[in-house]
């Protein structure tokens, strides 16, 4: 009874923390929106509008009201799912974002698979060979991935693998030739092309995806490698590793069955967090590869100062981050027997 009670209290406390963080997030985006140099009224009515119309829209937007009232109004709008209209496209911002999100998620998902597929084995190798040459090699390799300006690496990779060797597709999600051929069902091109049975489009999509996803994956693998290494080192020093050896298990078996088995939950949480940070790289890599996703939507709106769109994008990134944090916390509680 009392344990359940405590758990309920901690859950409530956590919910409160999240609510406060979300409120802070909204406040931050509101402040950023207010600070923007672009005149929101002018953006709506256009340059040639008469002062009367300007005044009318000004009042309509509530810009004559005190700041806190404007914030409450913004809060109310957001809570009812109204994120405003994009000046550039004239459509509700949230609709735009939902439209571009699948492209980014496709990219990010592939990237995280590559990042984890690279980072986890490398981290284990480094830990097992601590302070010997494989460890040093892995360290330099992953620091390199962490240090490269991804927009630049993207260009160099395009020059080499697309223009030079012709191994992969260039910019965009598929060849120009195929654009518009696949009906948009889920927004995920790989899935849509399979559903409609157009395998050549699928191949083209993979061909275009592989380069940006690999680069993003490599850059995120640095973090995954480092965390894997340090988690493994923690486990390798534990006494139960000796127990496993005494039982007659080989070194490889103890490493994979016991040490690695014990860090799986931690790894899942790390990968979840790395998935969120991919959004950062995506903003840059999407610009280089003309990838019609969230990152490109954000940057193109930034440059023209489309306030509603930028605020909502920032808000969504924040919410995704909070959600991923929460998710990794939850996974930890669910799968680690010690937290029960």
């Amino acid at each position: 009874m009392s344990i359940n009670h405590l758990r309920l209290r901690s859950a409530l406390g956590q919910a409160g923390t999240i609510a406060v963080t979300l409120l802070g997030l909204l406040m931050l985006t509101f402040i950023i929106g207010r600070m923007m140099p672009a005149d929101p009224v002018r953006a709506i009515v256009g340059e040639e509008a008469s002062p009367e119309i300007y005044q009318q829209v000004y009042l309509q937007l509530g810009l004559d009201r005190p700041v806190w009232e404007q914030f409450l109004r913004y809060l109310g709008d957001v809570l009812t799912g109204d994120f405003g209209t994009s000046i550039r496209t004239g459509k509700p911002v949230i609709e735009d974002i939902l439209h571009v999100m699948p492209a980014t998620m496709e990219l990010a998902t592939f990237a995280i698979l590559i990042g984890a597929g690279l980072g986890i084995p490398l981290g284990v190798t480094a830990a097992v060979n601590k302070d010997r040459w494989p460890d040093h090699l892995v360290r330099v390799f992953s620091l390199f991935g962490h240090s490269m300006p991804i927009f630049w690496t993207g260009m160099i990779a395009l020059i080499v693998f697309y223009a030079g060797l012709g191994w992969v597709g260039g910019s965009g999600r598929m060849s120009q030739f195929y654009i518009g051929m696949v009906p948009d069902r889920t927004g995920f091109l790989l899935i849509d092309s399979l559903i409609s049975g157009q395998f050549d489009v699928f191949a083209s999509a993979i061909n275009h995806l592989i380069l940006p996803a690999s680069l993003l994956g490599y850059s995120s693998s640095a973090y995954i490698t480092r965390m894997t290494r340090s988690f493994m080192l923690d486990q390798l020093g534990q006494e139960y590793m000796t127990t496993a050896r005494v039982k007659g298990l080989s070194r490889g078996q103890t490493i994979w069955r016991h040490a690695f088995g014990n860090i799986r939950v931690q790894l899942v949480t790390i990968v979840a967090l790395a998935y969120g940070s991919l959004l950062e790289g995506a903003v840059l890599i999407e610009t280089v590869f003309a990838w019609p996703g969230f990152g490109q939507y954000l940057t193109s709106n930034l440059i023209i100062g489309d306030m509603n769109a930028v605020m909502t994008c920032v808000l969504i990134v924040g919410v995704i981050f909070i959600a991923l944090n929460l998710l990794s916390d939850l996974l930890y509680r669910l799968f680690d027997p010690r937290t029960k």
Partner: protein, 279 residues
């Protein structure tokens, strides 16, 4: 005397990068008996145990002879050692809080020993595991089988450890401070269980401890180690006839109920004991 299980002659161990040997010229033989190795921390007693299992990757181990039954332990490849560890020679570690894998179920960990050495089905291994858990006097083996290490007490954890290490029916068990992490009240209980199993199954036991009283009650013979060297070997019953001043010092430093109420003797440590030839 029957054929010994283990013969060690002139065992020397040096950790990589260390200026001196951690263990120097240790020799002893072990039959189907219970041998205690006593010494203070740093005397090299645990190092000897691990060297027998060849679990000292960062050390150089040399000996004139290290014969375990029909096997020359120093000559075996790592591959052959895998068949020795757990199956013919095993070790009970000090603290079940650390020596059991915290996120695997107890039963699974015990059964792993059996599955490693015998090609049996999971169900057979489970039956065997439950039997063994019962043999270490765990009252409700079915329930304990599915618990995690943090859900059981220290005493029960150490009984699980014993079950795990005796499951494959080894000929030699090394117990490295098996009770020092336990509450005083359950120490005796755990030791009695271990002692009973060792006697019933005719297993050779090496009990490594810093506790002279415990060793003298549960062992047949006792090696006293000081600074990596065996200073004296004694029959457990004739402990009071110890010759070496270090052993006498250890004995004098033991409090006794009903003994004189003076301050206990302070242990004397003389540098020349480090150099004195063993035996």
């Amino acid at each position: 005397m029957e054929k010994p299980i283990l013969e060690v002659q002139n065992l020397c161990i040096r950790y990589n990068g260390a200026p001196v040997d951690a263990v120097r010229g240790v020799s002893f033989t072990l039959g189907r008996e219970r041998l205690g190795i006593v010494g203070e921390s740093g005397s090299g007693k645990s190092t000897v145990g691990r060297a027998l299992l060849r679990l000292l990757p960062g050390a150089r181990v040399t000996a004139d002879r290290m014969q375990f039954e029909d096997l020359d332990l120093l000559g075996l490849s790592e591959r052959q050692m895998l068949k020795v560890r757990g199956r013919r020679m095993s070790m009970i570690l000090q603290d079940p809080k650390f020596s059991l894998n915290p996120i695997q179920r107890v039963g699974h960990q015990v059964a792993e020993t059996f599955l490693r050495h015998f090609s049996v089905s999971k169900a057979e291994a489970k039956t065997k595991t439950l039997e063994m858990l019962a043999a270490v006097k765990i009252r409700d083996p079915e329930r304990v089988h599915d618990l995690y290490p943090h859900e059981i007490s220290g005493g029960m954890g150490q009984r699980v450890m014993i079950a795990m290490m005796l499951l494959a029916d080894p000929d030699l068990v090394i117990a490295d401070e098996p009770t020092s992490a336990l509450d005083v009240t359950v120490r005796l209980q755990v030791l009695t269980i271990l002692d009973g199993l060792v006697r019933d199954r005719g297993i050779g036991l090496i009990m490594i401890s810093h506790d002279l009283n415990l060793v003298r009650n549960f062992c047949d013979r006792v090696l006293i180690m000081y600074a990596g060297r065996v200073v004296e070997t004694l029959d457990a019953r004739s402990m009071d006839q110890a010759q070496h001043p270090y052993t006498r010092g250890l004995l004098a430093a033991q409090p006794r109920i009903g003994g004189p109420r003076q301050p206990l003797a302070v242990l004397d440590r003389r540098p020349e004991w480090k150099e004195e030839p063993a035996q």
